[in-house]
Amino acid sequence: MASPSDFNIDYVANLARLALTAQEKETFSRQLGDVLQYIEKLREVDVGQVEPTAHAFPMFNVWAEDQSRPGLPVEVALQNAPAQRDNMIVVPVVVE
């Protein structure tokens, strides 16, 4: 069973792809420790026979017609790209 003391900020920050400073790790660990301690009270609730709610008004099978419609022109889609060349987004080398 999960417990607030299991919280490992290095492990979680790696999963979240988020570089944290030593100061941030210390501060967040303490603050989130308080929050995790507070939400421990959910264990008091008997949820044995209860179905989970993902959305307040569950909707299923929302279909869209399979029709083409105008999208963003390439230059507009690229206007916010950090780096671009020849209608492509430039990124560092992924495979040597």
């Binding site: 069973m1 999960a2 299991d6 919280f7 900020i9 492990y11 979680v12 920050a13 999963l15 979240a16 792809r17 988020l18 570089a19 944290l20 400073t21 941030e24 501060t27 967040f28 603050q31 989130l32 308080d34 929050v35 995790l36 507070y38 939400i39 009270k41 959910l42 264990r43 609730v45 949820v47 209860v50 179905e51 989970p52 709610t53 993902a54 959305h55 307040a56 008004f57 909707m59 929302v62 869209a64 963003l72 507009v76 889609a77 206007q79 916010n80 790209a81 950090p82 780096a83 987004i89 990124v91 560092p92 080398v93 992924v94």
Partner: protein, 489 residues
């Protein structure tokens, strides 16, 4: 004239425009002058585009000249929280991550405003990615409460609430994930409505927690909120969670529903933790409804009152950690120049682009979703969410709507809670259960503290019954003059 004009309601201004006693250009010019005069102190706006606003005002006047006015909102400026897309305008979510982002398209609500002739006016400040209750988490500026510049305007929609209160805009759109419309409306003494989940399209709203987010109106009167809601509500095929609901004429419905009503008072919401002056104002509002012939019943929301904050900070952070994974420095937004390889781009971009509260929530959300913890936190929270919803549905077997505080206190001081996230989270205790249950709620002014700070009454309605909710709110507003007071700036 000018001070009169900027504090008129949209419906009053619509009549002046229709009678040709006022032009949209004159109105926009007054608001821009007011904004230039006071926003250095209020700091409600991240940016505004005067040339674009005037061009739209001229177009509205030309339509009216040609007998082609599009209705009461034609030519009325509507401030937009900087999380809702307006084509060609900045869209920052008050984050360094999107500091230079320009929206390539309009949100559905923006399209609908433009179709109604309304003028999207400026980009209003907020807590970064709508995470916060004080607007202190903005990467760009700290918005002040127009009633007391040393206090916060609430959040996350602090910019919209402050701009409406300060006479910098007539109307505004905000978003509400856990109280982000209602709590700032309460702190700033204006009307703020969170619609039923699914009534208003989320297409073009930067996602925070997708099962909780809703866009809604800010106004200085209930009638104006009804008018603006009518313009933005309704099914949108671009948002698959948007409901197929017939949208009534909310403004016309106000007059058709004079009451009285059966109103519930959740007994748990008046326990320890509620400021005595706020409690007195809410109890006086309850007595008003009783004296006006409504039946008041005590109801109980045991699970919502005790567990909503815990459930919310699991579900909202889990959804946020997933939604904010898209900010990876590759396709748009900030990209770290210090990264050494393709994977390092993610780590450093996110470290540089996100502020502390966003990082905290991504970390918490990632933790509660991680292997070994999902069942204990996320799944359990989803089950308690079901029980919270059942609390409200049980109450609604007896009553039409609920009366409650919006927040435990009036506006707090800048810096008072910013170092204690849990204390900040607990200030959302009366608002977040509505988002979990998908219900509509409105905050309307119901008094002032001795220090001169506004207090809001929260009226909580039944799903998709905003017409009734607004009529109940209007019943109170018509008998009181709180909404006619304005801060001196």
């Amino acid at each position: 004239m000018s001070s009169d004009l900027i504090f008129k309601s949209a419906t009053e201004l619509a009549a002046l425009l229709e009678a040709r006693e006022l032009s949209s250009v004159e109105l926009a010019t007054e608001l821009m002058a007011r904004t230039r005069a006071v926003d250095g102190r209020v700091q409600a706006f991240n940016s505004f585009d005067e040339a674009d606003t005037l061009a739209q005002a001229r177009a509205a006047d030309a339509r009216r000249d040609a007998g082609q006015a599009r209705g009461p909102l034609d030519g009325i400026p509507v401030g937009i929280k900087d999380v809702i897309a307006v084509a060609g305008q900045p869209l920052t979510a008050s984050s360094r991550m999107l500091a230079d982002f320009v929206s390539p398209y309009d949100a559905t609500v923006t399209c609908r405003l433009k179709d109604a002739g309304a003028i999207p006016w400026g980009r209003l400040n907020m807590d970064e990615f709508a995470m916060g209750s004080s607007t202190e988490n903005s990467a760009f500026r700290i918005t002040a409460n127009p009633w007391d510049l040393t206090r916060v305007p609430g959040g996350s929609s602090g910019g919209p609430a402050a701009a409406v209160a300060a006479g910098e805009t007539i109307l505004a759109l905000g978003s509400d994930t856990g109280g982000s419309i209602r709590q700032p409306a309460s702190f700033c003494g204006v009307v703020g409505l969170k619609p039923t989940y699914g009534l208003v399209s989320r297409y073009g709203l930067i996602a925070f927690a997708s099962s909780l987010d809703q866009i809604g109106p800010f106004a200085r009167t209930v009638e104006d909120a009804a008018l603006l809601l009518g313009a933005i509500a309704g099914h949108d095929p671009l948002d698959s969670t948007s409901c197929q609901i017939e949208v009534p004429d909310y403004r016309a419905e106000l007059a058709r529903r004079p009451g009285p009503w059966k109103l519930g008072v959740p007994k748990e919401y008046f326990s320890a933790g509620l400021d005595s002056e706020v409690g007195d104002a809410i109890r006086a509002a309850i007595e008003f409804y009783r004296a006006a012939g409504s039946e008041i019943r005590e109801v109980s929301l045991p699970v919502a009152a005790e567990y909503a904050v815990s459930v919310y900070y699991i579900i909202a952070t889990a959804e946020a950690s997933s939604n904010l994974a898209r900010y990876d420095g590759v396709r748009y937004g900030h990209r770290s120049m210090a990264a050494t390889d393709a994977v390092d781009i993610y780590f450093k971009t996110r470290a540089e682009g996100f502020g502390p509260e966003v990082k905290r929530r991504i970390i918490l959300g990632t933790h509660v979703l991680s292997s070994g913890y999902y069942d204990a936190y996320y799944l359990r929270a989803q089950k308690v969410r079901t029980l919270i919803r059942q609390d409200f549905l049980r109450a609604y077997q007896e009553v039409d709507a609920l009366l409650a505080p919006v927040a435990p206190t009036a506006a707090f001081k800048r810096g008072e809670k910013s170092s204690d996230p849990l204390a900040m989270y607990l200030s959302d205790i009366y608002t977040i259960s509505l988002n979990l249950a998908g219900l509509p709620g409105v905050s309307i002014p119901c008094g002032f503290t001795r220090a001169g700070l506004p207090v809001g009454l929260q009226i909580i309605g039944q799903p998709f019954r905003e017409a009734e909710l607004l009529a109940i709110a209007r019943g109170y507003e018509q008998a009181h003059d709180w909404h006619t007071r304005h801060p001196s700036l």
